[in-house]
Every structure is written in structure tokens, then in C-alpha cells.
């Protein structure tokens, strides 16, 4: 994002709305730290600047455009045609049956909540996922960033780009899910310079129960975390009646 110094009246109302604190005051001028800015567009969109001094270069050059693609939900990914940085994942599982009794889904979202991340951090995660034998979702913007689908390595020119968050979405066989989770948590705690939110997608039993939740809670007791008491549940209404 950019700020027009001729229009800016230095009211400072835009400073706090930036999720990553990239708008700052220096030498009595408001400026946007271009390295920190993730091109989410919030500052220009929420109407805090009466002078309309905030604007975005259009089109953003590559690879900077990746920041907007992952941080601005109004930016449509060319690779998925989905608004935002992820996929339909479990939201349409009743229509596509990707996650089954034998296939568990994982979402590892780097930078969330609200810290942000350099894509070099995502590169660490994608490589680790491949090492662990995960299968990446085809329909995910992260796939478009990969230079090598076998190792999970991202394209070198994107590694220094910063985003609000990016989601590595992949699946593992059900019997390996908890081992994969434990290995991922070890890796995240040891290697990442940001935060990561880790979640699982599980196909419920015919009676609606989810035995994996019990196993997850047990793993949490041993490792010192508690699965959230809330989440997302697909109700299965897309199935042919």
C-alpha cells in the first residue's frame, strides 16, 4: 500500500487499523513500511482516511502481488478462483468426499493469528510436509508457489514476500495422522520464527461422533495443549437426498 504525502493530514487514524503495524510516523510524516506491508488493503477499505490518501499500486508487480493474493480476501487467486488464501477444504466435503474415514486433512496456517509471516517460513513447512509423506491439496494457492512438487520447495523469488497468513493443506492416511501431528508440532516449535495454527479435518462416523477427537485430546494432555471446544461442522446437506 502507498500513502500520498500531499493528501495526508497526519491525523494518524490509519495507523492502528493496519493488522501488521506497517503504517508509521517518522520525522512528522506518515509512511508505510513496504517490507512490513502485506497488501491486505484494510487501511484503504475501512474508510478511516477522509482524504483518501491511501492507495495500492495496480497491478502490483510480481512477486509482490503474492502479498495481496494471500492477505486480501477480495483478491481472487488465479490458481483456485477462490477468494482468499485457501480452498473449499471441508466446507464442501459432502459434495466431493475428499476426506473419508481413512483420509485425514491437515491445515497448517503460518502467521495466524495476526502475526504474519515471510514465505520462507511456509517453505520450511511445505518441505517438512513432503518429508512426512503428506499429500498436498491440488486446489490450493500454495501449490502454485512450489518450484519442486517432490520436495515442497517454493520458488526462490517468493521467499522474502510477507503475508498475513498462508495455509499448507494436505492429507495423510488416518492411521498416520497423530504421528504426523506430533512430528509437525516438534518441527514448528523448533524451527518456525512465527506462529502456526494447526487443525485437522475428520470425517465423522455415521452417528456423528468423531473418535479422533478423543485421541487428539489425549495427545494434547501429553504435550500440553487442548483442542479448541469449537470448530466447523459440515452438516452434509449437499448430498443427494
Amino acid at each position: 500500500m502507498r500513502i500520498d504525502p500531499e493528501r495526508c493530514r497526519r491525523c494518524l487514524e490509519c495507523l492502528p487499523v493496519c493488522p501488521v503495524g506497517a503504517i508509521r510516523l517518522q520525522d512528522k510524516q506518515v509512511f508505510i513500511d513496504q517490507d512490513a506491508c502485506v497488501e491486505c488493503g484494510v487501511c484503504a477499505r475501512v474508510g478511516v482516511c477522509a482524504e483518501e490518501a491511501l492507495w495500492r499500486e495496480d497491478p502490483l508487480p510480481y512477486p509482490r502481488i503474492i502479498r495481496a493474493a494471500f492477505s486480501d480476501p477480495l483478491h481472487r487467486h488465479e490458481s483456485t478462483e477462490v477468494l482468499g488464501r485457501g480452498t473449499e477444504e471441508m466446507k464442501t466435503n459432502d459434495a466431493k468426499n475428499e476426506f473419508t474415514a481413512d483420509v485425514i486433512g491437515f491445515s497448517v496456517e503460518i502467521g495466524r493469528p495476526g502475526v504474519g509471516a515471510c514465505l520462507s517460513e511456509l517453505d520450511k513447512v511445505t518441505r517438512k510436509v513432503m518429508e512426512l509423506g503428506g499429500t498436498f491439496a491440488d486446489y490450493n494457492p500454495v501449490r502454485a508457489l512450489m518450484a519442486d512438487g517432490d520436495t515442497g520447495a517454493l520458488k526462490p523469488e517468493v521467499l522474502s514476500e510477507r503475508v498475513l497468513s498462508a495455509i499448507a493443506e494436505f492429507t495423510t492416511p488416518g492411521e498416520r495422522a497423530l504421528d504426523t501431528l506430533a512430528a509437525l508440532l516438534d518441527f514448528i516449535e523448533a524451527e518456525l520464527e512465527t506462529v502456526a495454527t494447526v487443525s485437522l479435518i475428520v470425517r465423522n462416523q455415521p452417528d456423528g461422533t468423531m473418535p479422533v477427537f478423543h485421541d487428539l485430546a489425549e495427545l494434547g494432555k501429553r504435550r500440553g495443549f487442548s483442542p479448541y471446544p469449537n470448530g466447523k461442522i459440515n452438516l452434509g446437506l449437499a448430498r443427494p437426498s
Binding site: 492477505s71 480476501p73 486433512g105 502475526v115 475428520v202 471446544p229 461442522i233
Partner: protein
């Protein structure tokens, strides 16, 4: 996108506080589901949500309903289980053939399912946040900022509005309306947000400080 997955601040000790609904047509059938998405959007809005997709951008219900055919997605926030159950029952009866996802406490969603004769199909559950968690703001601020799945609600904005509420320049509800604006999906629960802002404003301590020194330095009084 994991949209409403990682919200903090919901507790089984306070059931029925929040249910977020998402209706989505799988991309392979979206082109054929326009009329069903329009009907679903009309139905959702009829039940008076606290917030809905596009509202933060200034969209009216009349504008949102036809858009649903093209976007293939509707989201909305509800604040009681009776309303959520009645809405889901009506959507079930419509047999739109599109996906319906509820976000909330697992017990609350199970309650809604049992009331309308459904069983959970697929669940997305969060193990937690890991890594450099010392970079996160304190808990009540997270309870607000994590409501936007795209992380567009700034912790600095929360702190700024808490200060203004303390000074009597804003009410908590007005603060919640402002904090809902960055979240274009319309999934911020404005009622819960206002309650949290009220709690933050009543706390004796200063609003939560940001760990970024540059931001604090930049906003010191007299710097402008």
C-alpha cells in the same frame, strides 16, 4: 480458507453464544446452483443475523441476495441456538443441494443437529497455536481479532478503540461496528465484540500493548 475455525473466547460454560453459518456451492456445481444459492441467502437474511457477508462493505440484503448466485457463498452470524436451529431446519427442507457448515461450540452444533434430525458429516478441529506464541496479544484481544479468519482485525485497532471508549468518545457497540468493518466476510460477532470491548475498557490496566516497539514509538503523544 479456514474462515471461522480458530476463534478463541468461546467456552462450553457459556453455551449458545454464537453460531456462524456458511453456505457454499462446490465449485463444480456452482454454475448450476444459482437459484438455490439465492433462495438460501434469502432464507438466512430472513432470520435476522447479527452480521453477514458483504455488510462490512456496505452491501444491503437486497444487493447480497442476487450476488449469492455468482459468488456461491453466504456467511452470517447468529447469537442463539433457537434461531440457528429454525434456520437449518428450513434449509434442510429446501433440499438446495449445497453445503451448509456451522461454526461454534461442538456441543452447540450437535444440539442444533439433533433438533433438526441431522448428524455431523465432517468436522474441522483446531489443536491450537504453536511456535512463537509470545508474539500474540493478550487473550481478550485475541478473542476479538480471531473472529476474522483472514486476520484483518488489527490488535492495534482494538487497543485504540479501547482507549476511545475509556475516554467516552465511543460506546462499546460503536467500537464493535468499527472493528467489524475490516472483516469483509461479515463473520465478526458484533454483540460478543462489544461485550469484550466493554470488559477491556473497564479493566484497570492499560490497553494491551503491541510487542512491536516501532508502532508504540510512532504513536507516542506529541509525535505528530
Amino acid at each position: 480458507m479456514t474462515h471461522t475455525l480458530n476463534r478463541t473466547g468461546l467456552s462450553p460454560e457459556r453455551p449458545g453464544q454464537e453460531i456462524v453459518i456458511l453456505i457454499m456451492a462446490h465449485h463444480k456445481i456452482k454454475a448450476d446452483k444459482g437459484p438455490q444459492m439465492v433462495r438460501a441467502a434469502e432464507t438466512v437474511l430472513k432470520y435476522g443475523p447479527d452480521n453477514f457477508i458483504g455488510l462490512p462493505l456496505g452491501l444491503t440484503p437486497e444487493q447480497l441476495i442476487p450476488l449469492a448466485a455468482h459468488t456461491g457463498i453466504v456467511t452470517a452470524v447468529f447469537r442463539d441456538l433457537d434461531t440457528a436451529a429454525a434456520l437449518v431446519a428450513e434449509l434442510k427442507a429446501q433440499e438446495n443441494g449445497v453445503s451448509v457448515v456451522l461454526s461454534g461450540l461442538f456441543d452447540d452444533v450437535r444440539d442444533v443437529c439433533r433438533r433438526v434430525g441431522l448428524t455431523e458429516h465432517t468436522t474441522h478441529v483446531t489443536a491450537g497455536v504453536f511456535g512463537r506464541t509470545e508474539l500474540l496479544p493478550e487473550g481478550l484481544t485475541l478473542d476479538i481479532t480471531t473472529q476474522c479468519g483472514h486476520a484483518l482485525v488489527s490488535r492495534h485497532y482494538v487497543a485504540d478503540l479501547v482507549k476511545k471508549i475509556r475516554k467516552g468518545k465511543l460506546t462499546p457497540r460503536e467500537g464493535a461496528e468499527l472493528l467489524a468493518k475490516p472483516c469483509v466476510c461479515g463473520v465478526v460477532n458484533k454483540t460478543r465484540t462489544a461485550e469484550i470491548l466493554d470488559r477491556l475498557a473497564r479493566k484497570g490496566a492499560e490497553p494491551p500493548l503491541d510487542p512491536t516497539p516501532a508502532f508504540r514509538d510512532a504513536t507516542r503523544k506529541g509525535d505528530a
